[in-house]
C-alpha cells in the first residue's frame, strides 16, 4: 500500500505527464459594437478566446502573450481560475494593452475596424521557456507569419502544430507565410482566405492545393455555413449551430480553435475520426460564444452545457441510411 504522500506525488506525476496545449496569440481590450449593444474595453484577443475555450477540455493550457500595464488584474485572475498557466504572459511596464474597436453591420456578416492600437503587442516576439518548449500541442493565433515561424522552431517535437492566418498576411507577407506553412500541421482559415491563398474559387480544389504547401490538415471556416475539415484521406462538413440570435461573432473562430485543440489535447488522438469529433466540439464552443458579448458566453460554462450542445449537434446532423 502507498501512503498519502506517495499517492499525492504519484498523482502530481500523472498530471505532469498529461499532454499540454501551448497557445500563442494576442490578448486585447476590445470595444465592440453590434446591433444589440456596445461594450467598451472588454477582454478579447485570439489567445484569450483560444485558451479559455480549450480550458474546458484540459487543465494543461499554457498561454504565451503580452499585455500592457493597464490590463485588469481581475482578468489575470480569471485566466488563472481557468487553470491556464500564465507564466508565459508578459506584462509591459510602459505600454498599454492591444486595443481594437470594431463595429458590426446589421446582419453581423461584416465589421469595420474603427481603431487598431497595437500598443504592447507591436513588439510581441515570444521567447518560449524551456518548460513550454516541450508542449505537445501548439495553437498559434493569427499573428505575423515570421513570429509564427520563430515560435514553431522553438518547440521540441510537437505532436500537432495548428496555426491561423488572414488576408492581411496572405497578401502582405506571402513569402514568409509560405515558409511558415511548411512547419504547420493544421491550418485553420476562413473560406475567403482559402480562396485568396490558393487562387481557386472552388473550396475543394482550393483545399487540395493548400494541402500541397505543408499542412496535412486543413480546416476552412465558413461562418454561419459551418466548417470543412480536409485531410489527405477524409473530408468532413459540419454546419454552424442554428442560432436564432447571434449576439456578437467576435472570437468565434478562435473559440472554435480552442475547443478543437482542447479536445485533441485531451484525447491525444489525431485520427481522422477524432478530428471530426474535434470539429464538433469546436463548433459547439463557438456557438456558445456568439450567444453573448465578447468572451462572456464561455466564461462560465459547465461540462453539461457543452455536452448538451454537442448532443443537439448530433441530432441536427446525423441521419439513418436505408437502401433504395
Amino acid at each position: 500500500m502507498i501512503n498519502q504522500v506517495e499517492f499525492s506525488n504519484l498523482a502530481k506525476l500523472i498530471i505532469e505527464y498529461r499532454m499540454s496545449l501551448l497557445v500563442i496569440g494576442s490578448l486585447a481590450l476590445d470595444t465592440i459594437e453590434t446591433p444589440f449593444g456596445k461594450k467598451e474595453y472588454t477582454l478579447g484577443g485570439s489567445a484569450t478566446f483560444i485558451s479559455t475555450s480549450a480550458s474546458y477540455f484540459t487543465d494543461k493550457v499554457r498561454l504565451v502573450g503580452i499585455v500592457g500595464y493597464d490590463f485588469p488584474k481581475k482578468e489575470i485572475e480569471f485566466l488563472k481560475s481557468r487553470n491556464i498557466d500564465i507564466s508565459g504572459l508578459e506584462i509591459s511596464k510602459d505600454k498599454k494593452t492591444f486595443h481594437w474597436h470594431g463595429v458590426y453591420n446589421t446582419d453581423l456578416n461584416n465589421r469595420e475596424s474603427i481603431t487598431t492600437e497595437l500598443n504592447a503587442f507591436e513588439t510581441f516576439d515570444p521567447i518560449i521557456t524551456e518548460k513550454f518548449r516541450k508542449s505537445e500541442y501548439i495553437c498559434i493565433g493569427n499573428v505575423d507569419p515570421t513570429i509564427q515561424k520563430k515560435v514553431i522552431k522553438q518547440i521540441i517535437n510537437p505532436k500537432l502544430v495548428m496555426a491561423d492566418t488572414m488576408n492581411f498576411w496572405i497578401e502582405g507577407k506571402p513569402v514568409h507565410l509560405t515558409e511558415t506553412l511548411k512547419l504547420v500541421d493544421l491550418l485553420m482559415i476562413n473560406d475567403s482566405e482559402a480562396r485568396l491563398l490558393s487562387g481557386e474559387q472552388n473550396l475543394f480544389v482550393a483545399a487540395k492545393k493548400i494541402l500541397k504547401t505543408g499542412p496535412k490538415i486543413l480546416i476552412i471556416k465558413k461562418g454561419e455555413h459551418g466548417a470543412l475539415l480536409i485531410t489527405p484521406n477524409t473530408m468532413f462538413i459540419a454546419p454552424s449551430f442554428p442560432l436564432e440570435k447571434v449576439f456578437d461573432p467576435t472570437g468565434a473562430g478562435d473559440t472554435f480553435a480552442g475547443g478543437f485543440m482542447g479536445w485533441i489535447t485531451k484525447t491525444e488522438n489525431i485520427s481522422d475520426e477524432n478530428l471530426k469529433t474535434a470539429v464538433i466540439y469546436g463548433s459547439a464552443m463557438a456557438s456558445l460564444a456568439v450567444e453573448e458579448f465578447s468572451l462572456e458566453g464561455i466564461r462560465n460554462l459547465t461540462k453539461d452545457k457543452i455536452m448538451d450542445r454537442v448532443y443537439e449537434f448530433k441530432n441536427l446532423i446525423n441521419f439513418e441510411v436505408n437502401s433504395i
Copy 2:
C-alpha cells in the same frame, strides 16, 4: 396453391396498391450556357427533373404537364422508359414547348434569363384525372399559386402535399400564395425566398414564422451551403455534397424535390427521422444532377451509384460523440 394467372393478378394488385407520387409542373426545352459549354433546346422543366429523379425510388410516378407540338418524341420515350405515367401529359397542337434560355456567371451562383417563352405552358390549367386524384403524395413545382391551389383542391385525401414557389410569386401574388400555403404540407424554397416570404433575416426565425402560415414541414435550400429541414419538433441540416466541379446547376432544386418525395413515396413514412433521410436522398440526387449538363446527370443512374453517393454523404456528415 395459386396458379400463375392468380399470382400475376395478385402481383398487379399489390403493385396497384403501392403509393403513388403525382408530379405537376413545367416541361421545357432549355438553352443553357455555363462557363463549361452551351446546350440548345435540351430537356428541362421542373416536372421533368422532379419525376425523373423520383423514378429511381418508385415506379408509381404520375406526371401532369403540357408540352408543344415540337416536343421531341424521344423525350416522351425517355419519360416512359423511366416508368413515369405520362397519361396526364398534354401535347398542344398549335403551340411550341416552353423555352427558357439562361446564362450562368463564372462561379455559377447567378444566372441571367435571356429568353422565357412560355408558349404552350402559358395556358397550363391542369385537370387532374379521376385516377390521379387518388394519388397519395403530391409534388407541385414552382408554378402560379392559383394553379397550385386549384390542383391541390382536386386531390382526394393526399398524405403529403409538397410545393415550391419563388420570389416572383411571393412578390407578385402574395394573397393567392397565402391561400395556397394553407393547403400545403411541405414548402420547399430557397434561403432568399424564405427571407422574403417571412420578412426575417435570420433563417431559423424565418422558418418558425413560415410554419405558422400553413406548412407543417419546411425545407430551405441554401445552394452550395446545403439544406435545412424544419418541422415543429425537429431541425436537420445537411450540407451540399462537395463537388470540385459543378457543371450546370439547372434543375438542382427540382432534382432534390424528386429524390426527397421519391424516398417518401417509397417508404410511406413521414416521421421526422425519415424526412431527414429523404433530405439526404434529395441532396444525393441533386449532387449527381449538377455534375453534368441539364438532365444528363440523372438520365441513366443505377441504384448502386445513388447508394454510393448516399454513403459518401454519411461519411462526410456523421461523427462520433465522446463526452468531455
